[in-house]
Assembly symmetry: C2
Homo-oligomer: 342 residues x 2
């Protein structure tokens, strides 16, 4: 039903080839002809059928993005930025939310492979690298976001998770906390990196985690961690040596933890200081404004988009590039025990 090159060609008594060349700004077309063609295109509001073009050129001008939870502000921010950046270059973006389900994610990746996207960005919920070997076989370039996988050397853009742990924990130590606990996330690279950073920072302050002071939330994705945070904090508060500072895996977990602390009749930060990670949009407005490590989601989004565009163009296999974004701490009331030093 929509207009085709052939229609324009017939209308103007020209060949399809000529029209096609005008469409793509090919140089060797007479000025007069070009004008006529452009005019007719406008009249018909002509849109080239990109599927047909892809079939020949092998490029689809599409990019795929798979995230575990589009509702999570961190991923929403990244998705928004990537969408904006790639659009500027004429790409369209397939986005899908895997709900933290490895099987759903695999299906989605398969779908995107069938659609021959030019490049794929994945914040993965996989435990194994098998799926990625498949992508490599199809020779479609891909980028891992946020989470890395052991044994997989590939393009990566994400925050430096060890630095996240160090930043948060050191801050608590510097605020005078003596018994710093950690509510850790599930067994993925982000949680492991932050835990490492936590241990490292404690060590450099000559502390050591007390028994029972590292607790884990259950499965991730569990109402985005609020419940897990509540339960974990409840456990911590009941432990023999009650912690006076908690570094939480992420902000939703921190919200849950703060609720548990307040419910127990304790004060934040006087009795227990709290630091989260993610710096989500509403941190300023919370009952106790939450100190949080910012993961630089905007920078991650921009870098990821830039890398994706580069990969989409250079079919040449650049060697895998890993971009670790340095995090920064945003201090708010939940961890501020000392008069604001500078």
């Amino acid at each position: 039903m929509p207009a085709r090159l052939k229609d324009i060609a017939n209308d103007l008594g020209l060949s399809v080839v000529t029209i096609s060349k005008v469409l793509r700004n090919h140089p060797d077309i007479g000025e007069a002809t070009r004008k006529r063609v452009l005019k007719r295109m406008k009249e018909l509001d002509y849109q080239p059928n990109l599927a047909a073009r892809s079939l020949i050129t092998g490029q689809t001008w599409t990019i795929g993005l798979v995230v575990p939870d589009l509702l999570h502000p961190f991923f929403a921010q990244i998705a928004k930025l990537i969408s904006a950046e790639v659009r500027k270059k004429g790409y369209s973006l397939f986005i899908s939310s895997s709900d933290e389900d490895p099987e759903l994610e695999r299906q989605e990746i398969k779908q995107l492979l069938a659609r021959r996207v030019d490049v794929m960005l994945i914040a993965s919920a996989q435990w194994t690298i098998e799926t990625f070997r498949q992508i490599e076989q199809q020779k479609i370039p891909y980028i891992l976001l946020d989470r890395q996988l052991a044994g997989l050397e590939c393009n990566f853009v994400g925050v430096d998770d060890r630095a996240v742990g160090v930043l948060a924990t050191s801050h608590l130590a510097e605020q005078g906390c003596k018994r710093i606990a950690h509510i850790r996330g599930p067994e993925v690279s982000t949680a492991i990196g932050r835990l490492d950073g936590y241990r490292q920072a404690l060590a450099s302050h000559r502390m050591t985690p007390l028994p029972g002071h590292i607790v884990s939330i259950g499965k991730s994705g569990d109402h985005r961690g609020e419940r897990g945070g509540y339960e974990a904090a409840t456990k911590l508060l009941a432990s023999k040596k009650r912690p006076d500072g908690i570094f939480c895996f992420n902000d939703p977990v921190a919200l849950g933890a703060m609720r548990a602390i307040l419910d127990a009749g304790l004060r934040i930060p006087e009795d227990v200081a709290v630091v989260g990670c993610g710096n989500l949009s509403y941190s300023d407005f919370l009952r106790v404004p939450l100190s949080s490590v910012d993961q630089g989601s905007k920078i991650i989004g921009k870098r990821a988009a830039a890398l994706a565009l580069a990969l989409a163009h250079n079919k040449a296999p650049l060697r895998p590039k890993s971009e670790l974004i340095p995090p920064h701490l945003v201090v708010r009331a939940s961890s501020l025990r000392l008069p604001a030093a500078k």
Copy 2:
């Protein structure tokens, strides 16, 4: 580089047509042949080229979604659900965030038209209906989300905004507020509907808006309204008859307004009660937990997805369907002045 039907056909000494039929579960294929073909497909990890298929069938099995701001939890929720629902039926979803910019939105729609999506869902930032006439010309079905446009009769899924206004305002009146103000949004259908509802509810409680008690936030998208809400509320608090209740266009605006109220040394809800709209994820954790009208974004997402799938299949032009989702109020501390009745 990836395997093609032809490759499988050659390997097995069959014709392309036979392979194609196996691929699509065509009935008239011998069991033995089918088995052989399927085996080979698995070995090669064969993925049909969907672009080629589209060219013939005219269907792309893709759907387009355009929202003003993917970071806004309301739209993120809708996007997430639509993504999940349509995937179940084998569709992939293009998502893009227009940043509340009508021009960007138009470009994006054009792009999606060129990609021949089977159906489009748009939460539009347009002021005019021109763009939609273009879509209609191309005979691609579309659904408006959240916001309607005057003079455009088309498929729509969104909350009943008048009911939103009535619900919030009546609640404030029932909580004993005597001077109820409204911070309204920009000139789009949602803001107008909520304003209408506000007026209607006041009237039915034999009240009338006091002069200066309806203020507008500036341009929408302004850091998602928090700043606008702060400024608007500051104006309201300075007015001759200070309001004792404020119905805010949405939750970000309400957050800004609450900050202004607290900054002015007033109490919520004792001095000023506040109700927002959107019921965003963190409402429970706020400094003062925010009462809010829930727009039923999950229901909207599901209904929109179902309608989109129906339109994608039935090429028959159903007559436009408008689904108004009834909102419901979630009462929290910010508006609770009376001992919880009931």
